[in-house]
Symmetry: D2
Subunit: 185 residues, 4 copies
């Protein structure tokens, strides 16, 4: 199941110092179309978190008739920017130009569960998973027709845009984000 679970897969990668593909050698053969369950992933998605809808189009697809992998990060970033627009009333454009605040990405990871097609809208469930002193971690889960298609984890650092230096976010940003963080019991 290593390939099915982003966290366990990443753990294998790092702790073994080897690539997932190697770890996967120890796995029983399974079919790609059986790789769609993601209870663990769905489990920690906050109920009623922000959902950004994407109208998947013909031009997003490759000759395999499914969305090209390279488009999925683009969708995810649109969802994160939409999260900011929805909750702060501003997106990255206003952050940079009006607030001199940047949020460059330092890390991004994806697990792909199920192909995406134009047959349904893609719903990108998006929430901040944690807020550090100078960074924030977003999660995005993309679903179509109720099925999980991909999940991603994104780490951004808050910076002064003009100097590109790491800095804590403004208080209003922290106050807006905090209530949306998952409760840790």
């Amino acid at each position: 199941m290593a390939l099915l679970d982003g966290k366990r897969l990443a753990l294998a990668t790092v702790s073994s110092g080897r690539c997932p593909a190697v770890a996967e050698l120890r796995l029983p053969g399974i079919f790609l179309d059986r790789w769609c369950g993601a209870r663990g992933a769905m489990g920690d998605r906050p109920a009623g978190c922000f959902a950004h809808e994407i109208r998947v189009t013909w031009g997003d697809c490759d000759p395999a008739k499914i969305v090209y992998t390279g488009r999925i990060p683009w969708f995810s970033l649109d969802a994160i920017n939409a999260w900011w627009e929805e909750h702060v009333g501003e997106g990255w454009y206003q952050f940079e130009i009006d607030r001199n605040m940047g949020t460059p990405f330092v890390h991004m990871s994806f697990d792909f569960r199920k192909p995406i097609t134009p047959r349904h809208r893609l719903i990108c469930h998006t929430w901040p998973e944690s807020l550090g002193e100078t960074s924030i971690c977003f999660r995005v889960e993309g679903t179509q027709d109720g099925a999980l298609c991909f999940e991603g984890r994104f780490v951004c650092v808050f910076t002064k845009a003009d100097s590109f230096r790491k800095t804590p976010p403004p208080k209003d940003i922290r106050d807006i984000v905090t209530p949306h963080l998952p409760q840790r019991v």
Copy 2:
């Protein structure tokens, strides 16, 4: 430092089971020393591995005057496809259409080290890190003017394109990939 510590964050994620942004707050400085900079990353890049050159353009950049994060996966996939073209003489297009072979991505992760700009060509150093029974892991390190800008790890599964079922790769593909795998002592 934040832009340099993607790998540290990734390690923290896993070992703590929590999001990098939170873990980051309590990492001892020794971690900073061990994980900042690109030594580790550059360390395991095979000498003389395939280098795919990308002409970064104005249109790849965002208002921060650096390449938009969403473009970097696209560059990386182009580099992996170019690796196949260089070594097999065919890319994903020919695999799918002429061989009925797909290589869908099941995992993709990136650590971003340094902004990319159009001031230099982007060199995507690309190599297969491991070959599983039915999957392959590629690594891509993007450098500009000798400095590491990002590194990515990509896991693809070999499939029968028409049935979208996981399957071992053809022998000629395995024979072409194997000599390019890093020697494990």
Copy 3:
């Protein structure tokens, strides 16, 4: 004013066999920020025609802080595909895969009036301008905050998707498109 009027500009191009830039030499110098009126263009837009809304993002912009020109055709094609989805209940994806019908583009032209930014939604007013025996012409006008940003004209040919041969569209498509054509008095 040649640069302000797609039709007159194109006329100059073709009838004189010279490029607009040459025709423009005869024009009094005017400022780009005065080039935004487009009464003629607005004049022939059917009242209440289909409007496709695009959430312009940071990633669509270039370092000039406005949408990169290369993104505008992509927006326009999304709007045309959305027109089909709205009126037929299917887009290009379903046309190709479910109906074996293609609508490849044979011509596309744009006049750019005003920069697009993420400050407002981009409304793509979209309508079929004419329907030929085997082709269709779409018009798209993109506006932000009520101001015309660009207008485009698009000619597609109906084809049998598998043979890529030109063919008249199915009757149901013709019947759906016809009432949306501008009335010609």
Copy 4:
């Protein structure tokens, strides 16, 4: 034939003042003979003009197994930017940031002749067709395996980047462009 007659349609548009799709219905066969094929187009391409090579990839293609129309303007803009880099030693990025010079597009048109695939490199033959007092017109012809796939015409205006005001280009730019303009007998 439809895929070959973009230029015919464009002429029809203008001479009839109506949309190509309508005009096309009543064009005498002589037009077909005169405007099909690429003779005319190839005819005015300067011998040995700058050629920008594009490695077309899987991700550029849509489910019709050909390059998505929305990608072709992007390729063309890359070719024009490459023309600047080749002849001035700087592209749009350096123009804007180092010279405070912008070259926004005011017009862009394409005729599509033949589908583009990853089977061959796409060669974008690129040249300035005319230079106005404050604007420049570029032509791009894209060929694969010697066959014309598309041709495009692009009009840019020279501006002061910070004020976004139209202005004549610097003398060095004019001196570099002029020798590359087609000789008009």
